[in-house]
């Protein structure tokens, strides 16, 4: 069960998922792939963390899911951002920016 989330900062996974889904609805693997590519393979998102995170976010009402067919004609569960999710993304981005700036200031001091 060794699940290494890369060295992802605690609690940022959901923010990254929100950001990723903000572009377009995706299925689980799509999200994982997108995060990996955009981060230039710094973050490798493990399904053991990703799928439970998506389930949590669905419960919280930040995303909703529906079954659609994929580009190669298979059924997959697609996740869509809800209005609440959009709002959450905005908040988390703002607070992340603040934190990152603060950390940067400390490291440069």
């Amino acid at each position: 069960m060794g699940q290494k989330t890369g060295d992802m900062v605690q609690g940022t996974l959901e923010m990254l998922i929100l950001k990723t889904l903000a572009l377009e609805p995706m299925h689980g693997y799509g999200v994982a792939l997108r995060i990996e590519q955009v981060s230039q393979e710094v973050f490798r998102v493990n399904p053991g963390s990703l799928l439970p995170a998506l389930a949590r976010m669905e419960r919280a009402g930040h995303v909703k899911s529906e079954w659609r067919s994929t580009e190669n004609n298979r059924r997959a569960k697609y996740y869509l951002l809800t209005a609440a999710g959009r709002k959450a993304l905005k908040q988390e981005t703002a607070s992340w920016d603040r934190q990152a700036a603060a950390i940067a200031r400390i490291m440069e001091a």
Partner: protein, 811 residues
């Protein structure tokens, strides 16, 4: 908005289990396929790609579990599983389970029973409108009447005082008066057969001040209570109405008591039992009818006849402190203007200066029982608490041993992925199941036990009349107690059970792996158990010892072979003059003539029935602090001393020569003789009631009698004096008969003899003097017996436990 979706998704997950499960599998498979596909495209062989994708995913079971735990339903489900598992594990060792439940049931049951008694006696508020705004004048301990200016705190008031106070007061929206005595006249409903009524005399505004709405008809009002003798109406209690068939036409009928017909104007609501805890009146009658109900009572016009309890409802916004200040101010004004007038002596002024009304809360009504039982009940609940603690310690110890024996089971469960907290949680649930089952059995026991408690404490009918069935508050108490005990005995064993070396335990097989700290914990528990048991044992023997001392106390009178009849003499309709005297002598003579009767006498009191006390001034002896205390008085018939077997020490007893118009005489007891005449004979000396020396020559001492107990077996000897009833005319409620032979045959014979003289005199109750003496120690006996039985109970449960231990070896 999320909440509803969350709940509905949760419910779907719980009940549409297979579909959710299938979708999860599909999503996981899709993920792995997509991942494998991507790897293949990157040049990895198909087998390698599939393998790598599966490794990335890890255990699909674990992932699915984590997805599921996003929702609340997983927690609910695991709780349910744990519960089922716990019950299964408990059923696997029925001996242990039974013992645990029984010992908890005894502990929780004892606490519940005593708490339900406390609830009734001390905690329940009156079922009236906003009870917190009701205040009682004085502590509400006294029953009966006082006269004169009591020094210090007042608690009984006269009707004229009540009238002028309630007119002039500014802090109460209403003040109601209740006769402190519950009357027990005989009467008939609409020409039916004669029955005993418990009647409470109240002011017309009683129900409106309390805010009690009629169950049927109307309640009393001010116009019912305007002119003495003119308010012949009654409100009946719901319970009485029910006993008489819940007949809607009862309202409008009349109850005939002592020549008066009282029209029933309404039925009180079901929950309303009156304002005195333990008393449940059948009738409420306006105070204006006091003289009609009880011919001896002249309270309506006599401002010195103080027999009423007053309850006021605070005006909105008035604080307790304001009310107290205002009440006392007005109280003293009325005392000065109406009571003492112009010729005020220095002493009277001082008394008024000291006089005060202590306001107490009337939210729970008048609880004389509370005054008497609050300490005993607190002691009892402490003892019961100790028993429960012992049971907990016992059980914790057993669970500890059980946990050690089950270590392989726990190790196995942890090896296949159960977390430590999950196992501890499941063990706690086991404890909780035990505690709850114990509580259920305990409450069932308590349901009966509180009635048994009452019978044990039963020194008067008032207690028996109480409703002690556990209510919601009591059930909540027991439930909270069960939760608390479960935590108390289950917590440590649960945590301890999961702290072990996993592989060691697995290898050891069925071996027992108790860490050394577990042993010291177990020892600690045993020490605590023994210590608590010792405390219990000591308490029980202490209470028993003091009880034995009490029952051995010399009463002075001979309590064996004396019957005491409680009767209502006023029902004979004889006026308060020589004719009454004649009737009383006739009854005494007729009963004396009954075969087996040795002596018979009326008396104002027999043992432990009440007190009439007053100051005394002895002719020729100046008052000193040493000799100025109250003397206890009693009014008796000529045969009283021989009925009680109280021997005369000097002089003579009363005789037919002591007539209404002959010189006033008294017999005093040894203590009074000793206080005033330490070195000479008191015979022929004179004294008077009250502290006025002008009256000190009123009464001649003709005899000295041995000391006897008056109110309590534990009391120290007090000065007392007896007067012949020929010189103190009054209606009596007591008739004592000394007999030889069988009490069962005497009772009807005496009844017959009295009925022959006057068939209208009704006998309400019959007891023996020995019963009266025993009843006076009922509280002590209750504590002694209970602490003893509770201690036995704890022993039993410990024995059960140790047997359970043996049984536990097989589970």
């Amino acid at each position: 908005m999320g909440i509803f979706r969350n709940i509905s998704t949760g419910l779907r997950a719980l009940f549409g289990r297979t579909r959710v499960e299938r979708e999860m599998d599909e999503e996981l498979r899709g993920f792995i396929d997509a991942s494998a596909g991507a790897k293949q495209r990157a040049g990895v062989s198909p087998e390698e790609a599939a393998r790598a994708a599966r490794i990335e995913m890890g255990s699909t079971k674990a992932v699915k579990h984590r997805i599921r735990s996003a929702g609340w339903e997983t927690a609910a489900e695991s709780l349910w599983l744990d519960l089922r598992y716990s019950v299964r594990m408990l059923l696997k060792s029925p001996g242990f389970t039974l013992v645990a439940i029984l010992s908890l049931a005894l502990g929780i049951g004892a606490n519940t029973a005593i708490f339900s008694l406390m609830d009734v006696v001390m905690l329940r508020t009156l079922p009236v409108d906003d009870p917190q705004r009701l205040v009682l004048f004085g502590p509400g301990r006294m029953v009966g009447s006082t006269n004169g200016l009591p020094d210090g705190s007042w608690e009984l008031f006269s009707y004229p005082f009540y009238r002028s106070f309630s007119q002039k007061n500014e802090v109460y929206s209403g003040v109601a008066a209740i006769d402190s005595i519950e009357f027990g006249p005989h009467g008939t409903l609409a020409g039916g057969s004669s029955e005993l009524f418990r009647a409470s005399l109240v002011s017309g505004n009683y129900f409106s001040v309390l805010g009690v709405n009629p169950g049927r008809g109307r309640m009393l009002n001010d116009s019912d209570d305007k002119t003495p003798g003119s308010g012949a109406v009654a409100v009946i209690s719901y319970a009485w109405w029910q006993r008489h068939g819940s007949d809607p036409s009862t309202v409008g009928k009349s109850v005939r008591i002592g020549g008066m017909a009282y029209t029933i104007v309404g039925v009180a609501p079901a929950g309303f039992l009156g304002t005195t805890v333990g008393e449940m009146p059948d009738l409420w009658i306006p105070l204006a009818m006091e003289k009609e109900i009880s011919p001896g009572w002249n309270g309506i016009t006599d401002k010195w006849f103080e027999s009423l309890n007053l309850i006021g409802r605070l005006k909105p916004g008035v604080t307790h402190a304001q009310a107290a200040a205002n009440t006392n101010l007005l109280f003293k004004q009325i005392l000065r203007s109406d009571y003492v007038g112009q010729s005020t002596s220095q002493k009277e002024l001082a008394k008024i200066e000291h006089a005060q009304i202590d306001l107490t809360s009337a939210a729970r009504g008048l609880s004389r029982l509370c005054v008497r039982f609050s300490l005993p009940l607190q002691i009892l609940i402490t003892i019961a608490g100790l028993v429960l603690l012992i049971a907990c310690a016992n059980l914790a110890n057993l669970l500890l041993a059980r946990g050690a024996a089950r270590s392989r089971e726990f190790a196995l469960r942890m090896a296949i992925g159960a977390t430590r907290s999950r196992i501890a949680c499941q063990l706690l649930i086991e404890s909780l199941v035990l505690a709850l089952l114990g509580a259920i059995v305990g409450v069932a026991l308590a349901w009966n036990a509180s009635h048994v408690l009452l019978t044990m404490a039963n020194d008067s009918s008032e207690v028996a009349a109480m409703n002690v069935s556990p209510d919601l508050r009591v059930l909540a108490f027991s439930f909270a107690l069960a939760l608390f005990t479960a935590l108390l005995f289950g917590m440590t064993p649960a945590i301890r059970a999961t702290r072990f070396d996993l592989t060691g335990s697995l290898k050891q097989g069925r071996g027992i792996a108790v860490p050394s700290s577990g042993i010291s914990l177990a020892r600690g528990l045993i020490v605590a158990q023994v210590a608590l048991s010792l405390v219990l044992l000591a308490a029980a023997s202490l209470f028993l010892h003091s009880l034995v001392n009490l029952t051995r106390a010399d009463t002075g009178f001979d309590k064996q072979d004396v019957l005491v009849f409680g009767l209502d003499q006023s029902a004979a309709g004889t006026p308060l003059d020589a004719r009454l005297l004649n009737l009383q002598q006739q009854i005494e003579d007729r009963v004396q003539a009954v075969l087996g009767v040795q002596a018979a006498s009326f008396s104002m009191f027999t043992f432990n029935q009440g007190i009439w006390s007053d100051d005394v001034s002895v002719q020729g002896i100046p008052r000193t602090p040493d000799n100025s205390h109250d003397v206890l008085y009693n009014v008796i018939g000529n045969g009283f001393f021989s009925t009680m077997r109280l021997p005369l020490v000097a002089g003579r007893g009363f005789d037919t020569i002591d007539k209404a118009d002959s010189p006033k005489v008294a017999v005093i007891n040894e203590t009074m003789a000793h206080i005033f005449f330490p070195d000479r004979s008191p015979i022929g000396h004179r004294f008077g009631m009250g502290d006025d020396p002008a009256h000190s020559g009123d009464i001649e001492i003709v005899g000295v009698v041995k000391n006897a107990k008056y109110m309590a077996l534990a009391e120290s000897p007090e000065a007392a004096a007896y007067f012949p009833y020929s010189q103190h005319l009054q209606y009596f409620g007591n008739f004592s008969v000394r007999y030889s032979g069988q009490a069962a045959q005497m009772i009807p014979a005496v009844r017959r003899a009295i009925a022959e003289v006057n068939p209208n005199i009704s006998i309400n109750e019959t007891s023996t003097l020995a019963e009266q003496a025993d009843a006076s120690t009922a509280t002590q006996r209750l504590i002694a017996r209970l602490s003893e039985s509770v201690q036995k109970l704890s022993e039993t449960s410990q024995e059960l436990m140790s047997e359970g231990d043996v049984d536990h070896g097989f589970c």
